[in-house]
């Protein structure tokens, strides 16, 4: 069974979530502040972590930064609803997904499964892709540009892989969400937009100063071919 670390300072919520997620087939360990979350995440063997943004001692963002310094364990951030800043900061700092609080636990379970599928299941092909200066190696889950490694989060890597495999074609937002994040696109879901924005920044522009990933208005995204 997948080992999940749940870090939230609301003890009662943690207890309820533990019961719920256990019934869904996960094994849950709890942490109630940021420092404990970092210690557990780095010390234990977890398939994924759920971090609340608002925690005592160490905020969810700081905990995420410390975890990311040493580990690439998938992380879902629980953000305050309506705080766009939380979502953007969380995803850019390397969270794999976010869920605004309060949330439906079914949704949390679905996202957990999506993340686990993505990190457990080997890529459909392990064949490297090379387009211009950018090379993507599914085996090691690494990306280089002109030989220099580009640090990507798990979600960003999956999205880039989908886009690069379909280079020159438009990938719609729902296909990208399904293939890249392993879940269904929801109404007013802006996770993909944030991830693509972050990818653009990390990859940098092409020789003409244009972003490598183009937004095709109303239709989706396209990795520019050639």
């Amino acid at each position: 069974m997948a080992n999940i670390l749940l870090a939230d300072d609301d003890l009662e919520l943690c207890e309820l979530l533990r019961q719920y997620l256990q019934a869904e087939g996960f094994t849950i360990a709890l942490a109630h502040d940021g420092e404990a979350a970092v210690a557990s995440a780095l010390g234990g063997d977890f398939a994924a972590c759920i971090l609340d943004v608002m925690m005592p001692r160490l905020s969810g963002f700081d905990a995420l930064r410390q975890i990311r310094a040493q580990s690439s364990v998938p992380v879902i951030m629980l953000t305050a609803r309506g705080e766009d800043v939380d979502r953007i900061v969380g995803l850019e700092m390397g969270a794999d997904d976010y869920l605004p609080k309060p949330f439906n636990p079914r949704e949390l379970a679905a996202r957990l499964r999506a993340i686990l599928r993505r990190s457990v299941k080997p890529a459909a092909t392990t064949e490297s892709i090379e387009l211009g200066e950018v090379s993507l190696h599914p085996g090691e889950r690494t990306v280089t540009r002109a030989g220099q490694p580009v640090e990507l989060t798990g979600a960003e890597f999956s999205i880039l892989e989908v886009l690069m495999r379909a280079a020159g074609q438009i990938v719609s937002k729902d296909v990208l969400t399904e293939k890249g994040l392993g879940r269904k696109l929801q109404a007013y879901d802006r996770a993909i937009d944030t991830h693509v924005g972050s990818l653009r920044r990390k990859l940098g522009p092409d020789a003409d100063g244009e972003p490598l990933i183009k937004t095709v208005r109303g239709r989706g995204f396209m990795y520019r071919h050639g």
């Binding site: 609301d10 009662e12 919520l13 309820l16 979530l17 019961q19 719920y20 019934a23 869904e24 608002m54 305050a80 609803r81 309506g82 766009d84 609080k101 309060p102 949330f103 439906n104 636990p105 079914r106 937002k173 696109l185 929801q186 109404a187 007013y188 802006r190 937004t215 208005r217 109303g218 239709r219």
Partner: protein
């Protein structure tokens, strides 16, 4: 410098200038009138004594008379003339105009007297009123002095007006900034070390701003805490619901209902917080150049899922390449809320039309095919928690906050948001944003 400055400055200056000019005019009139009058009186008195003297001297002989006359003419500035029967001056001087005129008319006026010599010859003694001394009438004094006085008074008035108007200006701009949500604005430093009513007003303004800032901070803190505290039980409620679903059987309908209401409660809290944040102006908008055309396409794209669920169709007519200045996230939310509202209220299987045009302003029109809104309620449509009676009832969802958020967001952009019932039916909401040059 504003209107107050010019009013005070011009008002004071005009008044002082008028007073200066009027004083000069009145004074010079008085002097001009008083001076010849006095001289005339003196001349008359002199004539009287001179006539007596001349009479006496004539009896002694002509030599003494001419001697005395010459002496008189040397001492005084107003000469005396003694004209003999031959119409010549005794001293042989040329006879001045007024004397000649008096001689010709033959009338004795008050400036002449008849003196008879012992031999019976009649002389006439003239003491004509003094001619105006042209040299004393120096026009230079008035021509330079008067404008100079007016100019100096202008300078003084300018200083005075600035002294009065400047702090008022500081207060005005500070008040405006305060009203725009810049709560840490204070006028104390700008007003400086003056100690008058205006300075007191400035101190009071600062105290008021201080208090306002405290209150708003407290309110903001309270709202944040309350919303956080409300979200906590709400989050537990959702999980407890999930647990109930895992275990319970046969109560799904009830659980669905509980879940729906819990979600609504969550949405309500979110929207409430957003309205509060926008109203208090605590979020400093992040203004950049925004591709409005792209933004609209994106919002429409995002709403397709909801439109498909209604079902209704979204039709767009978007001018390409429209750019505006604004906070992209706020604008997106404004348009999205209006569009979602339209989708919610349009009749099933109808069209919601989204139009973007740029003329003098950027205008975004969203037109649904719903029941519209009673005319009387239109103006209240964008107020928080206003629920339009009849046509739009509770079951259509929403808490009347989406449009309030939209309006606040548009207000931040100095734009306007108007709603009207379209001629062909349905509600038409128009966003007008200032165009960038």
């Amino acid at each position: 410098m504003g209107r107050l400055f010019w009013k005070v400055f011009l008002g004071f200056w005009l008044t002082t200038a008028i007073v200066i000019v009027a004083t000069v005019v009145v004074l010079s009139l008085l002097v001009e009138r008083a001076d010849p009058e006095r001289q005339r009186a003196r001349q008359e008195a002199r004539l009287e004594t001179s006539a007596v003297t001349a009479q006496l001297l004539l009896q002694r002989g002509r030599e003494e008379l001419t001697e005395w006359l010459a002496e008189q003419n040397e001492r005084g500035r107003n000469p005396l003339w003694l004209v003999g029967p031959d119409n010549r001056d005794v001293l042989g001087r040329p006879i001045p105009q007024p004397v000649r005129r008096a001689l010709r008319s033959g009338r004795l006026d008050r400036f002449s007297a008849t003196v008879t010599a012992p031999d019976g010859t009649a002389y006439r003694l003239f003491a004509p009123p003094p001619q105006r001394d042209k040299r004393r009438d120096r026009p230079g004094i008035l021509a330079i002095g008067l404008p100079l006085a007016v100019l100096i008074s202008g300078l003084v008035c300018w200083l005075l007006a600035r002294h009065l108007a400047r702090p008022v200006h500081h207060l005005q701009s500070a008040t405006r900034r305060l009203a725009d949500g810049e709560l840490d604005v204070r006028v104390g430093p700008a007003i400086g070390r003056r100690r008058d009513e205006i300075a007191a007003l400035g101190t009071d303004f600062d105290r008021m701003a201080e208090r306002l800032q405290e209150l708003l901070n407290a309110q903001r803190r309270l709202l944040r805490d309350v919303s956080h505290e409300l979200r906590t039980p709400l989050a537990r409620l959702h999980v407890a619901l999930g647990l109930a679903r895992q275990r319970g059987q046969g109560v799904d309908a009830e659980l669905d209902r509980i879940e729906l209401e819990a979600s609504r409660l969550g949405e309500l809290i979110d929207e409430l917080l957003t309205v509060m944040r926008l109203q208090s102006g605590t979020d400093t908008p992040n203004f950049t150049t925004v591709d409005i055309s792209g933004l609209l396409a994106e919002v429409v794209d995002d709403a397709q899922l909801e439109a498909a669920g209604k079902p209704c169709r979204l039709e767009t007519d978007l001018a390409a390449g429209v750019q505006g200045r604004g906070d992209r996230e706020l604008l997106r939310r404004a348009v999205e809320n209006i569009l979602r509202n339209a989708i919610r209220h349009t009749a099933p299987d109808t069209v919601v039309a989204i139009t973007l045009q740029q003329q003098d302003t950027i205008s975004i029109t969203i037109h649904d095919q719903g029941p519209g809104v009673p005319e009387a309620e239109l103006s209240r449509l964008f107020e928080p928690f206003v629920r339009v009676e009849g046509a739009r009832e509770r079951q259509t969802g929403g808490y009347g906050l989406g449009l309030a958020i939209a309006q606040q967001a548009i207000r931040v952009h100095n734009g306007t948001l108007t709603a009207s019932n379209a001629a062909g039916g349905g509600l038409e909401v128009v966003i007008e944003l200032p165009a960038t040059d």
